[in-house]
Amino acid sequence: MITFMNNSDSEEEPCNERTSLMSAESPPVPSYQDGLQASQAGEAQAHRKRRTGSSRSPNNIADGETSDSGVPVREGILENEEEELTLKYGAKHVIMLFVPVTLCMIVVVATIKSVRFYTEKNGQLIYTPFTEDTPSVGQRLLNSVLNTIIMISVIVVMTVFLVLLYKYRCYKFIHGWLILSSLMLLFLFTYIYLGEVLKTYNVAMDYPTLILVIWNFGAVGMICIHWKGPLQLQQAYLIMISALMALVFIKYLPEWSAWVILGAISIYDLMAVLCPKGPLRMLVETAQERNEPIFPALIYSSAMIWTVGMAKPDTAARRSSQQAWDAAEDGRENHRSPSHADSQMSERRSPVPTRPITSFEELEEEERGVKLGLGDFIFYSVLVGKAAATASGDWNTTLACFVAILIGLCLTLLLLAVFKKALPALPISITFGLIFYFSTDNLVRPFMDTLASHQLYI
């Protein structure tokens, strides 16, 4: 799910929607395997963010149902400027998302093409119990559909569970769960990955070195993700985690099931984010009622700060940093993306803002960036990785899927700019990706092969 993040607190109202953007309490993100849920949690956050941010500056953050209560009068005046600014920097945001998505895909494709382990069939996850080694096509199709149904229902159940946990304020449970899952990802999966890479290149590594490397990698990762860390390091860890998860999916999902699951997940994403009864909406509304910030759990954020200036002591910012510290002490959950608090406190870079400063009171710190759920990263990489793994050794298919996904992301961001509400990032990209995968593999490949064999150029 994609949203723009815009934390601006220039108002001095004690506890309005905007200030709640600052820190991140965590919302429950169930388990690592539900990257989707992560993305949904992200969506929830995005929704939240959107609600809270909307009254102030619509950086494509829409007005939710509940956010109209605190809309200041100035909103109208600011809105146009915000719009211009948004669309002016809109291209920058798109690139800020292109780069990590591309990096994640490159890591996944490079691994798939070189390390044999991830393309070998070694069993299936328990979420996809039906095998695809059946003699008839119909049976295989049926099995893959059944696998998909099971997987999606698991995800729905987990999301609902998550919403319930959040509703009944079982934060500690959630924190514990998230820390456990990120531990597993950062240590166990990295260990396996490193082992396979070393095997592929026939490099020997002794145990003490291995322990040192894995320990450092994992510990720094836990700190960066759950607490604080330099923005780029956090982003790098999030990308690596998404790549690892995507590789797990690519390895353990049987072929046809993977494609059907991708399709079903994008439909589910669409419904969960846009339908009023979706679990994510409920999550967001609950968070809104409690005036709690939505956690940036499992969200990749590409925060940039535009410091416009401060006219008065920024009590809101101080409050937010206070909240951030509290949240830090509570233990953040998984995959805490560079939080706003972090960005605000540690990252003060940036350039001269070009928008006209209308009044002294309006100066505030604004943070502009885009957030994309890690689940989206994971499923994009799964698509491209599957294309790389199974498309008859053809690089054209991989390239086509890659471009299709990037264009889908671009379109989604454009829609975000137009509709100003949080949107699911999966549907458009995955649809394009699937269309291009199947058509390139079946139509374009024979054509290009024939052309290449005669050395013809179009």
Binding site: A91, V403, L443, F447, Q455, I458
Partner: protein
């Protein structure tokens, strides 16, 4: 073979384009987006043309050699026409985008001009098409094997790389010419682009007689380059001044 050939062919084919990309496009996010969208449009045109070719092939007798050859020629020509059609569609889209950008900007002018868009769009088309032609070749070049062991030309990889490079440049120049033709309603330029494209693709039918395909392509590229340069406002004096500036180390004037 393997690594030297791989790196050699990669840099021959993509080196100049990479340089152009790094120096002119990579800094500006808007241009990157236009580049990728251009690549996407080319991809869609390829999709449709492969669809048509696929249908014709499936509908015909696979053992009839001349027919298949004829269908291939038809496929290539149709693909060329479709690519130019999609270039036109992309032009329309970019026109609309410019209007949007203008209306949203503070000072009433768009952050990017249609000429720059033409260049980037042409580049996008070129990069994508060359990636599609070259990547499988490069992947194969990395592995073991001997080229031309069955009597085919031994220069296959090298000539493919050179052809790819020239095509990237050509597509970039055609982009500039085409958009300019569309802008000023000068159908000669559009027709010239289409004819040139058909000619280049047709000349590749001479492969492996490389003098028949590579030489004309390079000559055409030089022509297209000069034409595009002149149309973009360049002139011999500019070129001379630019070279002089470089030599005399005076204030270098960077003209975008």
């Amino acid at each position: 073979m393997t690594l030297p050939i791989f790196f050699g062919c990669t840099f021959i084919a993509f080196g100049p384009a990479l340089g152009l990309f790094l120096f002119t496009i990579a800094r500006d996010p808007l241009r990157i987006i236009i580049l990728i969208a251009g690549a996407f449009f080319w991809l869609v045109s390829l999709l449709f043309s492969s669809l048509i070719w696929f249908i014709t092939v499936k509908a015909s007798d696979p053992w009839d050699e001349p027919l298949q050859k004829g269908l291939l020629i038809f496929g290539v020509m149709f693909s060329v026409l479709l690519q130019e059609a999609f270039r036109f569609l992309y032009y329309k889209l970019l026109r609309k985008a410019i209007e949007g950008l203008v209306s949203l900007s503070e000072d009433g002018c768009s952050p990017i001009s249609i000429q720059q868009m033409a260049y980037v769009a042409g580049m996008g088309f070129g990069l994508m098409s060359s990636a599609f032609s070259m990547i499988n070749l490069l992947a194969d070049a990395l592995g073991p094997g001997t080229i031309g062991i069955h009597g085919d030309s031994q220069l296959y990889f090298l000539t493919s790389a050179f052809m790819t490079m020239v095509l990237i440049f050509l597509r970039t120049f055609w982009g500039i010419l085409f958009f300019r033709g569309c802008e000023h309603q000068r159908w000669q330029e559009i027709a010239a682009v289409v004819v040139m494209h058909l000619a280049i693709s047709g000349s590749t039918f001479y492969n492996p007689l490389y003098t028949g395909s590579l030489m004309p392509s390079y000559l055409l590229m030089a022509t297209a380059a000069t034409w595009a340069y002149l149309l973009s406002g360049g002139s011999a004096q500019n070129l001379w001044r630019f070279l002089l500036c470089l030599q005399s180390d005076a204030n270098p004037q960077l003209e975008s």
